[in-house]
Each structure stands twice: as C-alpha cells, then as structure tokens.
Symmetry: D2
C-alpha cells in the first residue's frame, strides 16, 4: 500500500479534471516498475548465463530510470503542463514495452524476468490509459 | 501492492541470511516515502502560505532523493557490501527523521504534511529495523 | 571537465556509427542541466517572491528529473535501442523547452533563472542535434 | 564546464560561511562520478568476461545512485541542515571508496575501470574535504 491516493486527496489546489484513479494507478505503477526493473537487473547479474542477459540488464536499467522520472513528474500538479506530461508518458510507454519484450524472451528460464515483464506491461497499460484520459 | 517480495523470492543466489521480511518492508517503505515526499513538496508549493513552507519543500526533496537511492541500493543483492548498505541506511534514517520533524510542524494546518510525516516515520523505523537485523 | 568522452573512448564494443561528439556533448548537457535545474528550484525557494515562482520550481524539478534519466540512458550503449533513445530525447527536448520558457519569464529579475534558461536551451539543442544525428 | 559555480554565485540568500570552492568542487565531482559509474557499469556489461565483473556492475550502480542523490542534496541551500548533509556525505564517501576498491581490481585489464576508480577517488576526496570544511 502506497500513499499516492492519500496525497492526491490532500493536494490543496484543483487537479484540473484529471481522472484521479487513472493518475493514482499510474503513479503507483511507475514506482513499482522502477523497483522491479532495478531488482530484475540485479537478479540477471547473479544468473549463471549473465553473458546472455546483458541486453536485459541494460533495458531493465533504462526502464527503471524512465519510470522513476515519470513517477516523479506525475506526482506534481502545480503548474501542470500537458505537453510535458504527454511526452514523458510516451517515453515511459516505449521504455516499458521495450523492457517487457526483452524480459519475455527469458521468462521461461528466469522467473524474475517473467514477473518483471508483467510489471512492465502493467505500467505500459497504466501510462496508456492516463495518456488517453488526458485527451 | 508492489513486487518487492515477489522479486526477492526469485533472486537466483543466496541472500546471506538477511531478514527477508525486514528487507522487503524497507524497500517498499523507501519507494513509498520517495513518492510521498515528492508529492508533499509539490503540495506545499500550491499552499497560500508557501513562503512559510520553503524549508519543508527542501527537506521533502532531499528525503525523496535519499529514499530513492536507498531503495535502489536495497533492491540489489549481487556483491552485497555490508558497509555500504549500513552507511546508506544511516543517511536515510537522518533524512526521514529530518523531514518528519519538519512536516510535523505543519501537520495541524496541512494534512499532506501530516501524512508525509507519518510516512517518513514509517520509513525511518523500517530502516532502523533493517539496520538492526543486519547486525 | 567530466569524464563522458574518456568513458566513450573506452567502451569495449562498437558504438554503431553514432556521432561520438554529439553524444558526449548531449550526455554532459543533460547532467549539467539536471544540476542547474535542481539549483534553480532551490534558489527560487529563497526568493522573497517565491509565491510567484512556484510554477518555475515545479518545471525546474521536472526538467532535472527528465534530464537525469536521459543522461543515464545515453550513458549506456550495450543493447542499444534506437526507439527508446529517440523517445527519451523527445521527452527531454520538451522538458528543457518548457523549463527554458518558464525561466525566461523571470530572467530579468532573477539571474539564476537566466543562467538556468540558457542551460536548458543548450541541453535542448544538444538533444535535438543528437536526435538528428541518430537519423 | 558545468554551471555549479555560476548557480552558487546567484543563490539569493546567504550560504552560511560554507567553503564555496569546496562545495562547488564536490557538487561537480558527484555528478561526474554518477555519470562515470553509469558508463562503467555499461562498459562492464559489454566485456567478454562480464561474468567476472558482476560485483563491479553492482557497485558502479550503487555509487551512481548515491552520488546522484548527494549531488542533489548539495545543490540545495534553503533550510540547510548540517546533520543531513554530513550523513549523506558519509554515505557517499563509503560508496565511492567501495566502488574505487572494486574498479581498481580490474584497472589493469579494463581501462574504463581505471578511469572510473580515479573518478571515484576524486569524488571521495571532494566529499571528505567538504565534510571537513563543514566542521
């Protein structure tokens, strides 16, 4: 349980008609995906076949960084700028899709990659739904 | 619900006898606190009395950055180094305590500061318990 | 002086024909802009007219986060993915332009905003040139 | 060339008698070290003997995260808290020393590790000097 919804409910100004549930879900998905990708990169480093997983480590790290930045941008509402939010969400969608595609290649042999691929797909979907809700 | 425990369970090497529950709790607390502090800094910016809250914004931002770095370090187990983990946890304890102290000053008038102070105290406690469990 | 070029020169695999100078310049611009925007947000907090600068603080913080993530993605070459790099550069261009536009509004009264606006414009340009060089 | 000094010179309030040069040097060292460690982790991933470098990748990533957080905390002066700054600097000293020790083991065979070890030592020294200057 995170405090994303509790903090949205206590934001002292208007949220400009944003879909509050889609926003909270996306913030949580971004932070969760950042953590999961960080852990997946590290788990890959401890696999005996790490030499075959170096692209997976790299994609995990990129996805972690982009999700972290996206989660931070989405946690701010003061001086909201629709163009910036959209651009960041679009980058996050690409990062999550790229990482999910890569992790799925190893999902049968490495269960951390299977969990990470699912988490990336969930985050990709949450970003798409928020992007769509923003109009 | 985050995937911290699911990823710990799938780490392919040994975790060296760490208290797995204390570790998972601390990882989740760090990411949650990073998000909450980011949101509290932004909420302070939208308060009419923002001029009285500038130290709170600053402490929120520091705490968010330190918690994020701590959550990332704790999400890695390959090549574990006890000194580094301890030093990072100690910095995080100070950051969370400092931010909780500051937010508590505004908890009566700004409910986002009240929630943020609690989240910082929870993260401070999770860091202390993990530090203690590490021996 | 940073070590971005020294590290590019020591990357053990091919860089795929990327414009090495444009890449090094963009990496340095992203880290520099992340630092400058972090400092500008904090300088705004200490201005007597902070209440008029809250959008500037927010845009500074967003730009710092997006530039940091972009600098990290650009520092990796293993398993290079052109789509991901392009999407991240595009988000960074929007973040830098948005922050430069906002800081320019205060450039006449606050010299930290003037320096920050210039740094954002430099980073925006470096991202555009790299994006163009990537084809 | 970064803008750390230019931004320090434009901070609108007092800096509390801090050694301005030591502070600027430490900010620059932290951002430089964050970038270098990110690049070193990636370079290790592309080495044929990556399986022997997994602890180096991990330590690089930790050092990058801790240096980034330290650079951010040091870039803020509003509501300065000596305890927090000291705790963060101490964690950064440990992270830089740990990473330098690990990279030095591979400095003879991998020149990116040699450069990274030097950068970590420089950052460790800059943090120690600032910590000492803070009293």
């Amino acid at each position: 349980m995170t405090h994303a919804t509790a903090m949205l409910d206590r934001y002292p100004a208007g949220l400009g008609g944003v879909d509050r549930e889609a926003l909270a879900r996306c913030i949580e998905a971004c932070y969760d995906c950042a953590q999961t990708c960080t852990a997946c990169a590290d788990a890959c480093l401890s696999e005996p076949d790490v030499a075959r997983l170096v692209s997976c480590v790299r994609t995990d790290l990129d996805c972690a960084d982009v999700c972290a930045a996206t989660g931070q941008v989405l946690s701010r509402h003061t001086g909201y700028d629709a163009n910036l939010t959209s651009a960041v969400l679009q980058a996050c969608i690409v990062a999550c899709r790229t990482c999910a595609d890569e992790c799925e290649r190893h999902a049968g042999t490495h269960d951390h990659c299977r969990v990470c691929a699912q988490t990336c797909r969930d985050c990709e979907r949450a970003c798409r739904e928020l992007l769509h809700a923003l109009g």
